[in-house]
């Protein structure tokens, strides 16, 4: 099966700045695919190259097997939902949605009926004669979606589509986008810097950093077995303990403490152990814990989150975050309390620096 979008050794330079560095990537048809990374990591440039708004400096880019490297954007069967929607301010909702069909020379009555169908699909019926400036952010977002999808693209590209919405609307739209993608059946390629959004919505995630592709995997894999320290740190919250591999089951932390941790790195490799705050357990200090998967310290700070508490735990040589769900009957620890932080040895991961 040919991939919906395939990038082979794609590099994009702006002058001397390498925005995208030798990226290989295949996005399958029907996939909800997220490109995740901090701003300036090259994810938007990658998306723009797929759209045809930038051309790669090197490499090959194909859409359903057809090489499109330097093909103009109007010659590609992909459409984009822009970051701030980029709705045409001088056109009504109906005209905005019908724009792509009009440009393709579809006749007027068909343009109208297909646009109206799309407007209904995104639940904006009755607002088709409004101008974009008369609509809320969420409504504008729907117009942008309708305007792209009405053209029946083979791939839909979305550039931080939820960035401009407030938290609650954003969560609603996340579910709606996901549902829309399932209904339409084409692949959605989705750029975001919000790791939570990427985890919630995507079938697969590509994590980028400084123009390089660090890991492409399902949300579970990315969260459970991050490819390196950056991915571990960027996806969700985590505690990173630096150390050196001693054998396949042991890592010696920088202060000399041995920790039981499985890895495939050669002995002597500098690594970090990633312990997710919610995977660690906090309990009254006791000496009968397994010394290879627990450490003793004192509570330093407590952050109350409503549904959970995050303890900042101080050790002589470092500090850790431990998250505890706010269940009834749990024991609370005041700052200054000596406690033990422990974890299951398979609940942690070893990542390369």
């Amino acid at each position: 099966m040919t991939a919906a979008v395939e990038l082979k050794a794609i590099t994009k330079k702006f002058g001397d700045v390498v925005a995208v560095d030798n990226v290989d990537l295949a996005i399958e048809d029907g996939e909800f695919f997220a490109m995740l990374g901090p701003s300036g990591c090259g994810k938007t440039t990658t998306l723009r190259m797929i759209a045809g708004l930038e051309f790669p400096t090197q490499g090959s880019l194909s859409i359903f097997g057809e090489e499109v490297g330097t093909l103009a954007p109007n010659k590609r069967s992909v459409n984009t939902v822009f970051q701030n929607y980029a709705l045409f301010p001088h056109l009504t909702v109906l005209e905005n949605v019908g724009f792509g069909l009009k440009m393709q020379g579809v006749d007027k009555s068909e343009t109208r009926s297909r646009s109206m169908e799309m407007i209904e699909l995104v639940q904006l019926e009755g607002l088709e004669d409004r101008k974009p400036s008369q609509m809320s952010g969420g409504q504008q977002q729907r117009v942008a979606l309708a305007r792209a999808l009405v053209n029946q693209p083979k791939v839909l590209l979305l550039d931080e589509p939820l960035g401009a919405l407030d938290q609650k609307l954003r969560q609603e739209m996340q579910l709606e986008l996901k549902k829309l993608q399932r209904d339409v059946g084409i692949s959605f390629v989705f750029v975001t810097h919000d790791q939570e959004e990427a985890l919630t919505m995507s079938d697969r995630i590509a994590v980028m950093h400084e123009g390089k592709l660090l890991q492409v995997a399902t949300p579970e894999e990315i969260y459970e077995t991050p490819a390196n320290r950056f991915v571990a740190d960027f996806i969700g919250r985590t505690n990173l303990l630096e150390g050196t591999v001693s054998d396949s089951e042991t890592v010696i932390l920088t202060n000399g403490t041995p920790i039981r941790a499985h890895s495939n790195f050669a002995a002597g490799t500098r690594v970090s152990i990633s312990i997710r705050p919610e995977r660690a357990k906090i309990s009254q200090q006791n000496e009968d814990g397994n010394p290879l998967s627990s450490v003793n310290g004192t509570v330093e700070t407590i952050t109350y989150l409503g549904n959970a508490r995050v303890y900042g735990v101080k050790f002589t040589w470092m500090s850790l975050e431990v998250r505890e769900e706010n269940r009834p009957g749990i024991e609370l620890y005041e700052p200054g309390t000596p406690i033990t932080v422990s974890w299951d040895h398979d609940a942690i991961s070893v990542v390369a620096d």
């Binding site: 759209a51 045809g52 708004l53 103009a72 954007p73 109007n74 992909v78 459409n79 984009t80 822009f82 970051q83 701030n84 980029a86 709705l87 045409f88 301010p89 001088h90 724009f99 792509g100 009009k102 440009m103 393709q104 400036s133 008369q134 609509m135 809320s136 952010g137 305007r147 792209a148 053209n151």
Partner: protein, 300 residues
């Protein structure tokens, strides 16, 4: 931006008498701030205009003076005379031509300017303004030298074996001079209008299967229309009433409205007719301006 037309319940419940007093104070302050401008306009614009209007209904007496008694429309009726009509249409045509040529030159340039980096933009804007640092009259005389019989233009064409071209004292020379003189007035509003357009809209149009031309036609042009209209009016109106450029570059063969009006006042000593012509010219300009503001109000 989101416009929600929802009556603000807060202001409706606010105590009305305080609000009214505040509003009154606000409008009074506005009036005082505008007062100097009002006075200036009344003394130097409204009153002279009224005098011109009165004169346009008067009669020229035998000695070149003006009789203010016995008001009539005779001066306005003279505008229908073939010679006056010819001059009026010639002026309109040349002003129109000037506007179109300015638009064709200025639009690509303004677009180029608006899509450069800010540092480059500012330098180029200064280049656009540099001609203003020299007197308009002097610049027109410079063109006279360039276009003249022994000027660099003729010399060049002769050298290239293209023969002599007598551009000076022709309508072409007038249009050239007017385009040269008023081009900045076209560039600046166009630049301002294009610069405000979000570049992503063009990308969106391209992404939605619009070719370069379609994107220009359906997105860039309609969105920059306020600039097109503003620039056209800023070029058309002074071109229509131009006096200096046609005098210097046009010679005797191409009398335009501006020169003709001056002739009526100074040479023919027919003040009423000159006044009537001025008024007709102003009416044409006024119509243009009104169109601009109505159009502008709709699209802005």
């Amino acid at each position: 931006m989101t416009v929600i037309s929802e009556p603000s319940s807060e202001s409706a419940e606010a105590t009305p008498q305080f609000e009214k007093a505040a509003q009154r104070k606000e409008s009074r302050r506005g009036f005082f701030l505008a007062l100097p401008s009002y006075l200036y306009l009344i003394i130097f614009f409204v009153i002279p205009l009224a005098i011109v209007l009165v004169y346009s209904f008067a009669t020229r007496n035998r000695f070149g003076g003006t009789d203010l008694s016995g008001w009539n429309f005779a001066s306005y009726e003279r505008i229908a005379e073939p010679i006056v009509r010819t001059i009026l249409f010639r002026s309109l045509w040349l002003a129109f031509l000037t506007t179109i040529i300015c638009l064709l030159i200025a639009y690509p340039f303004a677009y180029f300017l608006a899509t450069r980096r800010p540092a480059i933009r500012n330098v180029m804007l200064v280049f656009v303004m540099i001609p203003f640092w020299t007197n308009f009259l002097v610049r027109n005389f410079a063109w006279r030298v360039i276009l003249g019989n022994d000027g660099p233009l003729t010399k060049t064409t002769e050298f290239l074996g293209l023969g002599t071209h007598e551009l000076l004292f022709s309508q072409k020379a007038v249009v050239l001079g007017l385009v040269y003189g008023y081009l900045p007035f076209m560039i600046l509003p166009l630049y301002a209008a294009i610069e405000r357009i979000d570049g992503q809209l063009i990308e969106a149009s391209r992404d939605l299967y619009g070719s370069g031309w379609q994107s220009f036609r359906n997105v860039l042009l309609p969105l920059s229309m306020p600039g097109v209209i503003a620039g056209s009016i800023l070029v058309f109106i002074p071109s229509l009433g131009a006096y200096v450029t046609p005098e210097i570059l046009g010679g005797a063969k191409t009398t335009l409205l501006g020169s003709y009006i001056v002739t009526q006042f100074l040479t023919a000593r027919n003040w009423p007719f000159g006044a009537a012509l001025s008024f007709v010219l102003m009416a044409v300009m006024l119509v243009g301006t009104v169109i601009y503001f109505r159009k502008g109000g709709r699209t802005l």
